[in-house]
């Protein structure tokens, strides 16, 4: 058995090379590793993000092959719009939510949070490193789903027009905004509740039930602009009809931006506060 070599400790908030970035990079890597090895969550996130897109194209292609007169090709710009809605507004956010909750509660549910706290590292730093790791994992999965969408759009286009480069880029930006926002909010909310099942149930209920219902209550008027889904929808590169789950209540770009920032500040702030103050 060899002895552990003594070492001069680095300052508490800096890396060995004096760069806080080195430390932040390592903490990000550690949190990403935890997510990457959480197979169950990853599989479900992949199923939710990729599954509907694959089904969408497979069914469309079969229908077109069986009856080309009645069914258009599965690809093309129109189907790209439908696929974008599926990823950006429904199944992508569900996948993002699972990843965000896993990142927000993983340490606590495994019982290792106290072991990280006793390193002396700031609890807020421990919380903060979860957010970019969750976003990186979320974007990798959503990016894969978007790649499948683009592939299907072009491969199954037949004679239909295909999306232009600007729409492809705008679409990518939109799904990253939509899923990234929900992922970050989920990290904060999950850290606040410290309960993985509770956070998942509450966020799904909000996403699928409460938020669309509130968006449809016209008497709420402009208060509905405070909904995350409405602020996100403002940045959609494709038309979203007014009213309904995929609704877009007209608002200025500045207001939509402020609403997004407010959601991030509130939920990440609450998550950080809970992480800093709770008994470990």
């Amino acid at each position: 058995m060899s002895a552990v070599s003594p070492a001069t400790p680095a300052p508490a908030s800096r890396g060995a090379d004096g760069s806080p970035l080195t430390l932040a990079g390592q903490m990000f890597g550690a949190d990403f590793l935890k997510l990457r090895k959480k197979r169950g969550t990853l599989i479900w996130a992949l199923v939710l993000a990729l599954g509907p897109v694959l089904i969408f194209f497979v069914v469309g292609a079969i229908q077109h092959a069986s009856n080309p007169q009645r069914y258009e090709p599965a690809g093309g710009v129109s189907n790209f719009h439908d696929g974008l809605r599926v990823i950006a507004l429904l199944f992508g956010p569900l996948a993002a939510l699972l990843i965000g909750v896993e990142a927000g509660t993983g340490d606590a549910s495994a019982g290792v949070f106290r072991d990280l706290v006793v390193t002396g590292r700031s609890r807020v730093a421990l919380f903060a490193s979860r957010v970019p790791a969750a976003l990186a994992m979320c974007f990798a999965i959503i990016g894969a789903a978007y790649a499948v969408l683009l592939l299907g759009t072009f491969v199954f286009a037949g004679g239909l027009p295909t999306p232009e480069g600007s729409l492809i880029l705008d679409g990518l930006g939109f799904i990253l905004l939509s899923t990234g926002m929900l992922c970050a909010v989920s990290v904060g909310f999950a850290a606040l509740t410290t309960s993985k099942p509770g956070a998942i149930i509450a966020l799904i209920a909000w996403l699928i039930v409460a938020s669309p219902v509130l968006a449809n209550i016209e008497s709420l008027g402009s208060a509905r602009k405070g909904l995350l889904s409405q602020a996100v929808a403002h940045f959609s590169p494709i038309h979203l009809p007014e009213g309904g789950h995929n609704a877009s209540i007209p608002m200025s770009g500045g207001l939509a931006f402020i609403v997004l920032v407010a959601w991030l500040v509130v939920f990440l702030g609450l998550g950080a506060w809970r992480t800093r103050t709770m008994d470990a």
Partner: protein, 334 residues
């Protein structure tokens, strides 16, 4: 062996020289005090046992020292730094296992250490392999932790502590769940850390035997109060100021021996026992020779004369049973 005197401090005088110093630390849950005005002094370079029955407040005390929960009152210093105000500085060279060591079960032992090393700082990555080797887990470091036995998880917990290159190890009931071989191995590792590497080990346990075999200093805690603390030998004998120097004396004529010792200034008390006589000396143990001489001069044949070895268990039972009566905290100082 360092003592409180060597370090120039004692409970109630926070000097910063000790590995751990606390003064009047209290933790309340509602109206109940889980920890009640505890003063602790843990000398650097010692193996310190924090001994008490289950529910005595040992884990609560450890959690406060590590900043996992806040104290309701009092002050604490860990490696010279006040806690919680300088918690980051204080814990930089502290390794700890609180209750059962927990890990991400879906990660390997090595990956679990990588995560903690990343949080401690980039330079710590280089300590992972030596730490695994130190606890004998190199061969199985790449297996998922969910396949580890409890003993392996305990060892991995110690390896995680070693990543800090710790000046102070805080271990909460560390031998729980270990088999006898594992306990022996663990004892040897702790003693080596203290004696060869000059680390301080603060070890909580409800097992008297364990503390007596591993530690050189101890504090006895019961119902949230520290009721005695100091070097193990002095704790067991009743303390430096009140050591019980007692002899077992085997003689051929008990009556004659009792008559001879009665009134002797060397003897505080003499009484019959299964072995012959139990003699409590007035002075130190060196006066046993004079007692022997006086018995022989009186014509008593002495076939056995042996100092009574007090165990920590006896002392523990004495002091904890005293808690039923209102007593002041007793401190044994070196």
């Amino acid at each position: 062996m360092p003592t409180q005197t060597d370090n120039g401090g004692s409970p109630g005088q926070m000097t910063g020289h000790a590995a751990i110093e606390t003064e009047g630390v209290t933790k309340r849950f509602g109206s109940r005090a889980a920890i009640d005005g505890v003063d602790l002094y843990v000398p650097r370079g010692s193996a310190f046992g924090f001994l008490g029955p289950n529910g005595a407040g040992k884990t609560t005390m450890i959690r406060m020292l590590l900043g996992l929960t806040h104290a309701s009152a009092g002050s604490m210093r860990v490696l010279g730094h006040p806690v919680p105000s300088e918690r980051g500085q204080a814990l930089r060279r502290v390794g700890a296992i609180v209750e059962e060591p927990r890990f991400h079960p879906n990660l390997s032992g090595r990956e679990n250490l990588r995560i903690v090393a990343a949080v401690r700082g980039p330079e710590v990555q280089a300590r992972i392999a030596p730490a695994l080797a130190r606890v004998g887990l190199s061969e199985r470091a790449d297996e998922k932790v969910k396949k580890y036995s409890l003993g392996m998880r305990q060892r991995l917990g110690v390896a995680r502590c070693l990543l800090a290159d710790p000046l102070l190890l805080i271990l909460d009931e560390p031998t729980n769940g270990l088999d006898p071989g594992g306990i022996q191995e663990f004892r040897e590792m702790i003693r080596a850390m203290v004696e060869q590497e000059n680390r301080t080990v603060f070890l909580s346990s409800h097992l008297l035997d364990e503390v007596e075999k591993i530690c050189d200093h101890a504090a006895i805690v019961d119902r949230g109060k520290v009721i005695a603390q100091g070097p193990i030998a002095e704790l067991a004998s009743g303390g430096a100021g009140g050591a019980r120097n007692e002899l077992i004396v085997g003689v051929d004529d008990v009556e004659l021996a009792l008559g001879t010792l009665e009134g002797s200034e060397l003897v505080r008390e003499a009484r019959r026992s299964d072995e012959g006589l139990r003699v409590l000396l007035s002075g130190d143990i060196e006066s046993a020779a004079q007692v022997n001489a006086s018995l022989v001069r009186a014509g008593v044949a002495v076939r056995r004369l042996e100092p009574v070895r007090h165990s920590l268990e006896q002392r523990f039972l004495e002091v904890t049973s005293r808690l039923d009566a209102p007593v002041a905290q007793e401190e044994v100082r070196a």
